[in-house]
């Protein structure tokens, strides 16, 4: 017996919870409430409703109705009784495999209705009892979904560590693909954009994990992660010209600034880039549950990439023309460039008196030579000391 799966993705729910609990996203709270309530009503998500009404960050927006909650709980329990019956039947009539299958179906139902407590418990039980790697993997995926839906990234990370060796051992193609999406989102949430871009861009063409997040979101996250981590050539082949990206971005009004941002940087339209980057900051980064913690880092790094891309072609460039290219004042460029120069994030110096920016590409051969001399010296020193100790030891015996 299988139950109709929830049609609203886990991350759509956690994003709506995030919007509802963030005071600075007040303009989105009504839409978030609508999303949550239509999911709650359609799929009897009693545990989610209970969570929202008890969580201090969201309870103010919920007009708690105990009758509504109880009617959903009743429906949940009826369903659960059916699953219990199926488990009992399997115990009487069939073998271990059917019993585990029935247990997994029940665990999936808990995941469906966002019942984290009981779901995790049953997942653990099933995991311990299962012998087939495939079953263990599926149960772990269910557990990760329960952590994702309540945006518990620490637990997601721990579970992924547990899941990876199992997938390497016995994961089929489909499960490997599923892992890419699950892991890609996690990496993005911990600021590992380059790891996230690899996985997310890779899984776009075969994506089927809509239980976790909708397709256009995976494309959006792939593009956002790729834009900050890939070099210009890869941005062109993997994003700007990607058929999957082209099929999604231009069709969605909400993605137009993101699309324009990446294209304008690629085409060296820097003033257009700055304007659209500001828009991406507001509409894609600050209001996203995973990216909000990184938006300052992200926007700063994107600016650095744009400056580096422009400066790369010149030995010297007047600050005036640079400011004109970006459509901002000379002071702004001066200040912003200066913040990158001390730790060599941009290889240039500003001559403010003459109003010129000079680039100073580090000589790679020279740097490597210095490095070898320095490290070689340390190594020789260590070897000498070691030799002394060894010889003394040898003679004492």
């Amino acid at each position: 017996m299988t139950e109709k799966a929830r049609t609203v993705s886990d991350l759509t729910i956690s994003q709506a919870i995030f919007e509802l609990s963030s005071p600075f996203l007040e303009n989105k709270s009504q839409k978030a409430l609508d999303t949550l309530f239509s999911a709650i009503r359609d799929h009897d998500l009693a545990p989610l409703y209970k969570y929202l009404s008890e969580n201090p960050k969201t309870s103010a927006s919920i007009d708690f109705d105990s009758n509504f909650l109880n009617s959903m709980i009743k429906k949940n329990e009826e369903k659960l009784a059916e699953f219990d019956k199926a488990i009992e039947d399997a115990q009487e009539l069939n073998g271990e495999h059917e019993i585990l299958e029935a247990m997994k179906n029940k665990a999936d139902y808990y995941t469906n209705i966002c019942d984290r407590e009981r779901g995790v418990q049953l997942c653990d039980e099933t995991f311990e009892r299962a012998t087939l790697t495939g079953m263990k993997i599926d149960v772990l995926f269910s557990k990760i979904r329960l952590a994702y839906v309540y945006a518990d990234m620490r637990v997601v990370g721990q579970l992924l560590e547990k899941l990876k060796p199992l997938i390497e051992k016995g994961g089929d193609w489909e499960r490997k693909n599923r892992l890419k999406a699950y892991q890609g989102i996690y990496l993005m949430s911990i600021r590992n954009f380059s790891g996230a871009a690899d996985l997310l861009l890779d899984c776009m063409s075969t994506f089927s994990s809509t239980e976790l997040l909708p397709y256009y979101d995976v494309v959006r996250y792939a593009v956002i992660s790729g834009a900050i981590s890939l070099d210009r050539v890869d941005v062109k082949t993997k994003i700007v010209d990607s058929p999957e990206v082209l099929a999604v971005l231009p069709q969605n009004e909400s993605m137009s600034s993101l699309e324009a941002c990446i294209n304008s940087l690629y085409l060296c339209d820097y003033s257009g880039f700055f304007r659209t980057l500001a828009d991406v900051e507001v509409n894609h980064l600050k209001c996203d549950q995973f990216l909000v913690a990184h938006y300052r880092y992200y926007v700063r790094e994107m600016r650095r990439r744009a400056y580096a891309q422009l400066l790369e072609s010149y030995r010297a460039l007047s600050i005036d023309s640079m400011a004109a290219s970006f459509g901002v004042s000379v002071d702004y460029i001066d200040r912003d460039l200066a913040s990158f120069i001390p730790d060599n994030k941009l290889n240039c110096v500003i001559d403010r008196v003459n109003g010129v920016v000079f680039t100073n590409r580090p000589d790679e051969k020279n740097r490597q030579y210095q490095e070898v001399v320095k490290q070689g010296d340390v190594l020789l020193n260590k070897l000498q000391k070691y030799q002394a100790t060894v010889m003394r030891g040898a003679f004492k015996v």
Partner: protein, 71 residues
């Protein structure tokens, strides 16, 4: 080799002692100070913007300034 060779070898020795420490197996979290920072990524001051305003706010101000200058 005879024992008489010992004294001359002593001269070659470095002043510093070289000893291997036994590897301790502390759990990672015991080796770090509790900073109250529970983020899962590495935070670096240099990676964040220094200004108080978001980039979108700063840019808005810049564009406004330019608009005034042009008029």
């Amino acid at each position: 080799m005879s024992r008489a060779a010992l004294p001359s070898l002593e001269n070659l020795e470095d002043d510093d002692e070289f000893e291997d420490f036994a590897t301790e197996n502390w759990p990672m979290k015991d080796t770090e100070l509790d900073t109250g920072d529970d983020t899962l990524w590495e935070n670096n001051w240099d990676d964040e913007d220094i200004g108080d305003d978001d980039f979108s706010v700063q840019l808005q101000a810049e564009l406004k300034k330019k608009g005034v200058a042009a008029n």
